[in-house]
Symmetry: C2
Subunit: 229 residues, 2 copies
C-alpha cells in the first residue's frame, strides 16, 4: 500500500488541500494499491480558512514513509507554519524517502523553509514568488514545476492541474483522463482567463510583510532571510 499524505495544519486554504485530494483519492478508487491519508500533528480538529473544522485521518507519528507528500498553502496560516519546526522537521524527514514531494500555492514556502528547495526550480502563488526566492528556490512562472522529486504548483486551483499530472505519473494517462471525467474538469471560467498583463504581482507584499512580522517574530533567522522582501 502506497500512502499519499496530505498535510493538514491550521489556517490552510481549503481548496489547496481538497483539489488534489479529490483527484488523488479518485485515483485510489481506481487503483487500490494507493491510499490517501490526511495527516495532522495529532487527531484534533483543525480550523482552516473557511467555516469548517477538519479532523485528519492520521498523525505525523503514524505516517513515517509516505510515497507522495502534498503540502497545501494558505495565507497567514502558512506564514505562521513557516516557523513550525516540528512540521518542517516532518517534511524534511518524509521528503527523503518519498517518491514525490508536492506543494500547492504557498505550500512551496514551507518546503523552502524546510531547506528542501535550495537551488531548485519551483513555483508558488503569483503574489509570493519573492518569498520563495529569498528562501533559496528559483521561481518559475508556470502552472506547475517539476524538479527531481519536487513538484510545486501555482496558486490554489493549480493544485488540480498538478494532481492530474501526478496521476498520469503514478498510474497512467488513461487513469488521469478518467479522473478528469469523473470530476467533470472541463473548466469554463465565466469571465475567461486571468488577464496577467493587468495584474500587479507586488500587490500582496504589504500584507505578507505584516504577516511575517506578526507570526515569525520569534524566528530571527527566518526574519533575517526575508528582510529584503
Amino acid at each position: 500500500m502506497k500512502d499519499i499524505a496530505f498535510i493538514l495544519y491550521p489556517g490552510l486554504t481549503l481548496l489547496d488541500l481538497v483539489g488534489p485530494l479529490q483527484v488523488l483519492n479518485s485515483m485510489c478508487e481506481r487503483n487500490p494499491q494507493f491510499r490517501t491519508v490526511v495527516v495532522g500533528k495529532d487527531l484534533d480538529p483543525v480550523k482552516v480558512d473557511v467555516p469548517l473544522l477538519l479532523t485528519p485521518s492520521a498523525t505525523i507519528q503514524d505516517i513515517r514513509s509516505p510515497s507522495v507528500v502534498v503540502v497545501p498553502g494558505g495565507a497567514a496560516g502558512t506564514i505562521k507554519a513557516m516557523g513550525d519546526e516540528e512540521l518542517l522537521g516532518y517534511l524534511k524527514e518524509v521528503a527523503e524517502s518519498a517518491e514525490y514531494v508536492c506543494s500547492v500555492c504557498t505550500g512551496s514556502l514551507l518546503l523552502a523553509a524546510a531547506g528542501l528547495l535550495d537551488g531548485r526550480e519551483a513555483t508558488t502563488h503569483w503574489g509570493c514568488s519573492r518569498i520563495l526566492e529569498l528562501l533559496g528556490a528559483k521561481y518559475v512562472r508556470k502552472r506547475w514545476v517539476q524538479d527531481g522529486k519536487f513538484f510545486t504548483s501555482a496558486g490554489v486551483s493549480a493544485g488540480i492541474d498538478m494532481a492530474l499530472k501526478l496521476v498520469s505519473m503514478q498510474a497512467d494517462e488513461a487513469t488521469a483522463r478518467s479522473v478528469q471525467l469523473g470530476i467533470e474538469y472541463d473548466p469554463e471560467p465565466p469571465f475567461g482567463r486571468i488577464k496577467w498583463r493587468e495584474v500587479d504581482r507586488n500587490q500582496l507584499l504589504p500584507y505578507l510583510r505584516t504577516q511575517i512580522k506578526n507570526h515569525l517574530s520569534d524566528k530571527p533567522a527566518l526574519i533575517s532571510r526575508l528582510s529584503d522582501l
Copy 2:
C-alpha cells in the same frame, strides 16, 4: 448580514462543497455584508468521500433564512440523502425565501427530490441526467444553468465556475475577477479538455441503479419514480 449556506451531509463529494465555498468565502472577505456558513443537521463531525471528518459551523435549526443555499452532490451519499425527508424538508423551506438556490453536480437530484425543480431547466453530473429528468426537471447539457432562482451546475469542478458567476451576481464582475485571481483560477488541464464524443454517458447507470436499490428501498414512491432508469 446575508448568509450563504452550504449543506453538509454524509458521503458528499468534498470538492463539490469546497470549490464554491472557497470562491464565495473569498467574496465574503472582500464584502463583509456576506457570511458563509456550513450547515449540518447537528454539529457532529460528518464523514465525506475522502479521509476527513468535517464539523459544520451551524445547524439547520440555526440557519432558517439564508440568502443563498448551495447543495453539493456526491455518489452513494447523495442517493441516500434523496431519501432524507428532514434534509429535503429543510431545502424546501429555505428555498422559499432564498434569493438563489444552487447545486453542484448531483446536488440537483436533492433539489429535484424535494420537488423544487419540477418543470425547470437544470443540470447535473454528466452521468446522472436521466435521474434528474425522472425527478421532473428538464436536463440541459451546460456547465451551469439558471432558471429563476435555481442555479445548478454540472459535475464536481463545475461548481467553481458557477460560484464565480454567482459572485458577479451577488457583488459585481470586478469582485468575481478578483476572487478568480486570488485562487489563481487559470486552468491548464494537463491533458486538455474532456473529449465528450468519446464519453458513454450511460456508463454510470448500473452503479446508480444499485445505489438506488441499496439506499432507497424504504422509499417506494421515489423508487417508483426512478423505475425507468
